[in-house]
Amino acid sequence: MKIIVCIKQVPDTTNVKINPETNTLVREGVESIINPFDMYAIEEAVRLKEKYEGTVTALSMGPPQVESALRESVSLGVDEIYLLSDRAFAGADTLATAYTLAAGINNLEGADVVLMGKQAIDGDTGQVGPGVAENLGLPHITDVRKIEEIDGNGYMTVQRLLEDGYVRLKVKLPAVLTVVKEINEPRMPSLKGKMRAKSKEMKVWTAADLDIDKERIGLSGSPTWVTKIFTPPKPKGGKIFQGETRDTVSELLDELVKGGIPIKRGGGK
């Protein structure tokens, strides 16, 4: 089985501070890590490999320093690593990123399973996984919390996390899955893996190596513009209703109506 994991290098936001004046991230001294959700994708990919035999290829788009993230993935069990790196890719939003990653996957001649984290902790959009699938013309399932099995006919059964439970879905491979943290507990790297990671050859592809439309990558392929980043101000004031639910709901509705919100009061069972 051929498995591709797409990973992103992100600042370790558990240690990130926001400059309150400029409202931007203070990047100095902040370590770069593999996006935590991608760690689950890597682990699941390696588990699939161990169970069904095959290879795991990690793919990332980003500046040259992303090499360290790709090498780290080798220490966790990934076999091959590819980096899409070119000035022309810079400034990509989720649309251009998904397009570029899909082109990278095509260059790798596709896979049986493409695994990704459900979202990146720096952007938090969750759009790139489905975007990659659309570009590849493959089915996708987001928020996968368990891969149950792959049957002899090439169908995979997974559990997709919902707010209050899960739904079991069957998908014909090849497919793209994005995973949530419930899916596994990522292993620790191994020393032998770390040594392999050091000597592993990493292939770098530029825009010229991919079969792509130059207008759809990087800044020019990105319709999203970030105009301002800010921490929403904490809401002030407010009123807390205390007492029996029946009474407090009624009081709340009265208050809302008084505030000019048109609410039709029913019979109140």
Partner: protein
């Protein structure tokens, strides 16, 4: 302080530190309470290749030595001395195979020990033979192509959990200590059982049991080295393992020091953090100095051993003695820095103080270490004809 670790040693230290922080520390108090064996952590240490750091490459290890083993033990111990002991005691049981095993024995056990698939134990102590190890009574009688073992070992770390046990027995009662031999006994061998698990003061995540042998038949090929070499195997093994106990002590002490420094900044009395008080500062300064000195001596001992120095008993004992006394002192002072909270089980230093105590006792009490050191001093003086 910079110990000029090479790249690989830094990797080993970083990985052990990461596992200690992320996997061991959150569970330390739970294991201390339940006294259950930390298989879950052993599995992680195995997958990460940490059990292989001191095992030769040709047998599936990473080819390091005592130094690398000490780096791992210190890091793990800073999070939990008990869990770290399960690792260190496996090393103690593995070292005799590395030192005295023939190729076949090494091939049979070392690769599986290197991956943590199995762990080892070392059994010398008996109910009536502690410091006076020469008083052991467990017998191994050669009967055709088997040894038949009878006797009871006491307080064996990893006992009952370890797959491979290096057992020191008497093969020739007429020759006393010179009639002892080291024999490898596998878990599951008929006639061999682990006795009851001891309920201990500290290092409670580690398993301490009796090993009971009743007409236990072991193939002749399981003899390590030659007949009569039992005590040589034990002494040479201790020479290499004592820095491991020292590293355990350094780790426990470092863990306690870190907690004490952090706490001193958080705890306010008289409107200021207690770290402002010189009385507390001086305690912390002494603790840090002692820990650093203990680490330096420990790593120096390890380096000396790995460098191939022949007579290492003295430096090895010095490291174990100094580091364990340091651990006891530093953890006691850490409890002092925490005040009444330090005496409570909800705070980590109470456990660290209990964990530290054993390092002054096992693998030779500190009285015995002093004896070893003094004996070497006298021997050296005689040799120099002072």
């Amino acid at each position: 302080m910079n110990y000029f670790l090479n790249e690989e040693q830094k990797e080993i230290q970083n990985l052990a530190r990461k596992i200690a922080k992320e996997k061991i520390e959150p569970l330390a108090l739970e294991y201390d309470e339940s006294q259950s064996f930390p298989w879950e952590i052993v599995k992680i240490l195995g997958q990460s290749d940490l059990f292989g750091v001191f095992i030769p490459e040709e047998y599936g290890g990473l080819g390091g030595g005592v130094f690398e083993m000490c780096l791992v033990v210190e890091e793990l111990s800073s999070a939990c001395g008990g869990i770290a002991l399960s690792y260190a005691a496996s090393a103690l049981g593995t070292i005799p195979i590395i030192l005295f095993g023939n190729d076949e024995q090494k091939k049979k056990y070392l690769p599986r020990l290197a991956t943590g698939e199995i762990i080892a134990a070392f059994a010398l102590t008996e109910p009536d033979a502690g410091s006076d190890a020469a008083a052991i009574k467990t017998q191994a009688k050669l009967d055709g192509d088997h040894y038949v073992l009878n006797g009871t070992k006491q307080w064996i770390t990893n006992g009952g959990e370890a797959f491979i046990n290096t057992v020191i027995c008497i093969t020739d009662p007429s020759r006393g200590a010179r009639g002892s031999s080291a024999i490898l006994v596998e878990k599951g061998t008929p006639g061999f059982e682990g006795g009851k698990k001891e309920n201990k003061m500290g290092i409670r995540a580690s398993a301490t049991r009796e090993l009971i042998f009743q007409d236990c038949k072991v193939p002749k090929e399981n003899l390590l080295g030659r007949e009569g070499q039992g005590f040589l195997v034990a002494m040479k093994t201790f020479d290499q393992s004592r820095p491991g106990v020292a590293a355990q002590a350094v780790g426990i002490a470092q863990g306690a020091l870190d907690k004490a420094v952090a706490y001193s900044r958080e705890r306010y009395q008289k409107g200021q953090p207690i770290s402002n008080f010189q009385g507390v500062q001086f305690m912390l300064a002494d603790m840090a100095t002692q820990v650093e000195a203990a680490r330096a001596l420990t790593l120096q001992a390890a380096k000396t051993i790995d460098g191939g120095e022949k007579n290492v008993a003295k430096i090895s004992s010095m490291a174990k003695l100094f580091a364990s006394d340091t651990a006891m002192k530093v953890t006691t002072d850490a409890v002092q820095v925490f005040g009444g909270y330090g005496y409570m089980k909800e705070y980590p230093v109470e456990k660290m103080m209990r964990d530290a105590k054993i390092t002054q006792i096992y693998e030779g009490t500190n009285q015995i270490q002093r004896e070893v050191i003094a004996l070497q001093l006298i021997k050296e003086s005689v040799r120099r004809k002072d």
